[in-house]
Amino acid sequence: MTLTRKNGLLYLAILAGLIVLPSFISTKYYIHLSVLALIWVIVAQGQNLIQGFTGYVSIAQAGFMGIGAYGTALLGLNFGLPVWLTILSAPLITALFALVAGYPSLRVKGHYFAIVTLAFNMVIFIVLLNLTDLTNGEAGLMGIPKPGAGKDGAINFADRTTYYYFVLIAATGVTALTALIVNSRLGRVLVAIRQNETLVGAAGLAAWKYKLFAFVVSAMFAGFAGALYAHYQSFINPEIFTIAQSMDAVLAVILGGSGTITGPIIGAFAIVFLPEYLRFADSFRLVIYGLILILATIFMPRGIVGLASDALGLLKKRRAR
């Protein structure tokens, strides 16, 4: 019980830090990056649900972001539906696609899943690129409206800091939902699947249903994040939704700490802010990512969160002496 209370305090501290963050940032660009990082928190929480808790690595989250982003944009641009409605329908549209991709690949155990999701991401990219009548191809979609009915809305979402708080509310909600899921009976089954799927079957549970649930929820988070991104940038094109970005989600979970609630939050900020400092190495991006992945797996298998809690434990032991 003390453990959960301690965790609760940690979550509150992180939330408080994120609430005051904008007042400490004077550069607009860093506010911009923080908005992106919060959007990636939503993606990473979903990725963690399927990868960290259930043990199945999906390499399709950017594809799902694309579905959510194009979904909300097209519904708004083509049918004039209100922004709030299109944002909320984005995860539902994404869920349908995730069901189609997940059903066949999760009926079986093992590694097909990663490959199927990777292929699925490629297909999404190719479709977005070539279905030019609908998606405008490489040129992308422009003029995606902000929520709040333009400038006359009560709250001005065109303002970066305002959008920051909007996305912070969304990321907090998604994180709370994830915590609810993983601490529930259902979450225990997901963690059991990660440890020993054969035994889950022998215990009388249809593992594939639980895996599919985790995957669809993870895709819905990504779709939601994609929609938030589209309305934030007002512009999207297929290039933003490739396998490389899906790998960012994988990396965020591993770096931050897989199978924890705080891990994806830290990981998301890491994958958004680190490349800014590694900009000189842009052409080696994949090489560096590979290197980070390998090093992280060897030296901090439980991510930054695991490293921090080990360090804390060591400090406590010393003080106890």
Binding site: L180, I181, N183, S184, R185, L186, G187, R188, V189, V191, A192, Q195, N196, T198, L199, V200, G201, A202, A203, G204, L205, A206
Partner: protein, 252 residues
Amino acid sequence: MDLALDVRDLGKTFGGVKALDGLSFGIARGEVMGLIGPNGSGKSTTVNTLAGVFPATSGEIRLRGKPVHHLPEYARVQAGLTRTFQTASVFPEFTVREQVLLGAEPARTRRGVWSMLRSGARMEPELRGRLDEILQLTGLADLADTRIEEVSAADQRFLMIATALAADPAVILLDEPAAGMVSHERDRLSHLILALGARGHAVLVIEHHMSLIMKVCDRITVLNFGEKIAEGTPREIRSDQRVVDAYLGEAA
């Protein structure tokens, strides 16, 4: 007679290899049936086919009179048939109690989908009581809150049985439960198996330890090359010439 498990003419082929051929037997409520035979004779295949890990090639399986051979694995558990594995199979990061609780999950899911979002640590008081009784019975009460990876290999085997019991099965299949156990652990196991029978479960136990089998079984079925070559009381089996030739000669 009222059979808890009724197996008729069960067959299983793996790409042309007949692992099981026309196997029939029945186990009554409260009865302990032994299943013995040389390595590769089809004992584990029997368990896996009964449990629904893979479909039978032919034959019928009835649980308390109801056919289950068309059902997937998880549905057979819900219908009242559970099993353990020949090699220890556990959730290493869970505590002993958490794993046993998961074994009870199928009985709970029928309370509705939304209840799956309730806290994973909370249990109904009567369920907690039932799990405590199972932990007591299997000798794991003191280890209830220990992480499984820190539990001895023998206790992990008892834990598999506890997990299989949590679903409150009519039939429980034990695949070489004594593997790797030393003598006093085997004694503890014999007591448990006898207690399972006394609790009214129908038990199928596969073993190579003949003294254990002879002690706990009401009847024994003998397999050789996927076919049943004998069935009878321990005394009858010990003196059956075909069984001695095929199996006991080498094991004894």
